[in-house]
């Protein structure tokens, strides 16, 4: 490995383009958010004066904020957990050689082909009390007697939104897992089978450890995307009824673009950043050290 030591600059040079690009695009907006969070900002984005941590204080004093914070944790746990639970078996199945596998893979990936906003709009429409196809189909099949008011109460609406969230996250996650599975060398399974290992043992001892880096990547990225996922909840219930489905990002949007409080919205955005940072750092820290990568 002395060859590598001879050129200490090489890795740095290789990461410069991506680093510079990301820094350039994110840097100023991040600065802007931090700046706005410590200033009093008018409805239309004009700075009215420095106010220190006032925005943060106001935000933390708002009971809706705290409720949204907890709900965001439930939302993230529900969607990411559900997604992984669904995606692992689905990826394993799609990795098998069977007739129509190509078709099955395309179908499973279809939710990803629609923009999140349009998916939310279509599902909102499908869950409409009177003419939504969910109620119509369930009634036709005799599973329910009268239309169910899916989105009228937060007790029903929030789980529905979580299910939609899982549905749209599965394709991405399945694809990552399939990518990971495709990198697992075939021969080790041969050897294991010769040694008499059962299917389940093969999975636990061979597949899972090799898949782990990809599972970690899927979990961390999904946690970040889902935590910040705006369209599903906003389109279906706007965080209502009665703030019953607000998560931090919809709360942020309402503060910034409906109630005219961009400074507080910026404060919420920073709180979210800190939370995400802590969560992902914690998760990565508790992973067993790997040689190699991810």
């Amino acid at each position: 490995m002395t060859r590598i030591a001879r050129r200490p600059l090489t890795p740095w040079l290789l990461i410069v383009p991506s680093f510079a690009l990301a820094l350039f695009v994110i840097g100023y907006p991040l600065y802007n958010i931090v700046f706005q969070s410590v200033h009093e900002v008018s409805r239309f984005g004009l700075i009215r004066g420095f106010c220190g941590l006032d925005n943060f204080r106001k935000v933390f004093a708002d009971p809706i904020f705290m409720a949204s914070l907890w709900r965001t944790l439930w939302w993230t746990l529900g969607v990411v957990g559900g997604t992984v639970l669904v995606a692992v078996p689905v990826a394993l199945i799609l990795n098998q050689d069977f007739y129509g596998r190509g078709v099955a893979r395309v179908i499973v990936m279809l939710p990803w082909s629609v923009s999140l906003t349009m998916t939310a709009i279509v599902w909102r429409w499908a869950f409409n009390d009177e003419y939504g196809m969910v109620n119509v189909t369930l009634q036709r099949m005799g599973l329910i007697a009268a239309p169910v008011h899916w989105l009228a109460t937060s007790t029903l609406a929030f789980p529905v939104e979580i299910l939609v969230g899982i549905l749209v996250s599965v394709p991405f996650t399945v694809t990552i897992f399939l990518g990971g599975l495709s990198s697992v060398p075939v021969d080790i399974y041969e050897a294991a089978r010769i040694d008499g290992a059962s299917g389940w043992q093969q999975f636990r001892k061979l597949t899972l450890p090799l898949l782990r880096p990809f599972i970690n990547m899927a979990i961390v990225l999904n946690v970040i995307y889902v935590f910040n996922s705006f369209p599903i909840i906003w389109v279906m219930t706007q965080g209502g009824p009665s703030n019953g489905t607000h998560i931090l990002v919809t709360y942020l949007y309402e503060q910034g673009f409906r109630l005219g409080k961009p400074g507080e919205a910026a404060a919420v955005s920073l709180v979210m950043l800190v939370m995400l940072f802590a969560i992902t750092a914690l998760y990565l820290r508790i992973q067993p050290r790997e040689g190699g990568e991810a």
Partner: protein, 284 residues
């Protein structure tokens, strides 16, 4: 013969296991399709029905004209392809560095990339707009230009691309390059002749991920692109629905369906690269 029967049995089992998911996935597409082919006055008929009385295929052509679909399609393609190429171009070297070199900044760099994903786009775009408005370009500024969107998308996709590529690159054994090196290839040539061919599946998968992200993205385009001539499909279609007093649902559904076609075609092509052992099969 027996192999076929085993495969057949396996197929049935697999399809049966996948059935619930398949139904749920196809449900909204069915809703979209049947609404798209309904005549306008049947969309809200009561009691609601799945099937239209006639299949009004003309909705698709009406929609194409009314929503300036062709222009929006072109813009979506430009923006998605551009950001895909840029993201791959900067991410492959970085991923190679992460996979092959141990160096001190590795952890910090990874953390940095993750942080770029953690900021909610909702507020990020305001800062982006300001930046674009401040940068001078060809006599005006960077607002309403494809290149701004391409650069922004590429930057947002770098974190995922680098992570995905480096995870995959790490599974490609070093010895292949090193033996090529030992046999007298220069380091760079070893990479090009030995490493890159094996890295192609990962690069293709990652490229398609970034393409899809660009295709479906909304917030950035909505903020940066102003003129109708430059709008992408996501913005154009959402504009048909958001905040309108009357929505032409049949057109909206038709537009959404058509917008999913290019990506679906890509999927059909992509999934070939996800076959078990493709990469290492080549070695044998």
């Amino acid at each position: 013969m027996s192999i076929d029967r085993r495969k057949l049995r396996r197929s049935l089992v697999c399809w049966a296991a996948l059935a619930p998911l398949v139904v749920i996935v196809l449900f909204p597409f069915a809703v979209m399709f049947f609404t798209a082919v309904k005549p306008a006055d049947e969309v809200f008929v009561y009691p609601a029905r799945w099937l239209p009385s006639t299949f009004r295929w003309a909705n698709f052509s009406d929609m194409w004209v009314a929503t300036r679909f062709g222009v929006a399609l072109e813009n979506s393609l430009i923006v998605s392809l551009g950001s895909m190429l840029l993201a791959i171009a900067v991410s492959v070297p970085a991923a190679y560095a992460l996979a092959r070199f141990p160096f001190r900044g590795k952890g910090a760099y990874r953390q940095f990339l993750l942080v770029t994903q953690m900021l909610s786009p909702i507020l990020l775009v305001i800062g982006l707009f300001r930046m674009a408005a401040m940068i001078h370009w060809h006599g005006s500024n960077m607002v309403d230009k494809h290149i701004s969107v391409i650069v922004a998308y590429a930057a947002f996709n770098v974190a995922f691309a680098v992570w995905m590529l480096s995870s995959y690159f790490a599974t490609i054994p070093r010895d292949l390059e090193e033996s090529a090196w030992l046999e007298g290839c220069g380091r760079a040539r070893a990479i090009v002749k030995v490493f890159l061919p094996l890295a192609v599946p990962a690069m293709v998968v990652t490229a398609i991920f970034t393409f899809i992200n660009g295709w479906n993205e909304f917030a950035v385009v909505y903020t940066l692109i102003r003129s109708d001539a430059n709008k992408t499909l996501t913005v154009q279609i959402t504009d048909l629905v958001a905040g309108r007093y009357t929505v032409e649902w049949h057109q909206v559904m038709a537009a959404t369906l058509l917008a999913t076609l290019p990506v679906s075609v890509l999927f059909a092509w992509l999934q070939r690269y996800l076959v078990k052992g493709l990469a290492l099969g080549a070695v044998k």
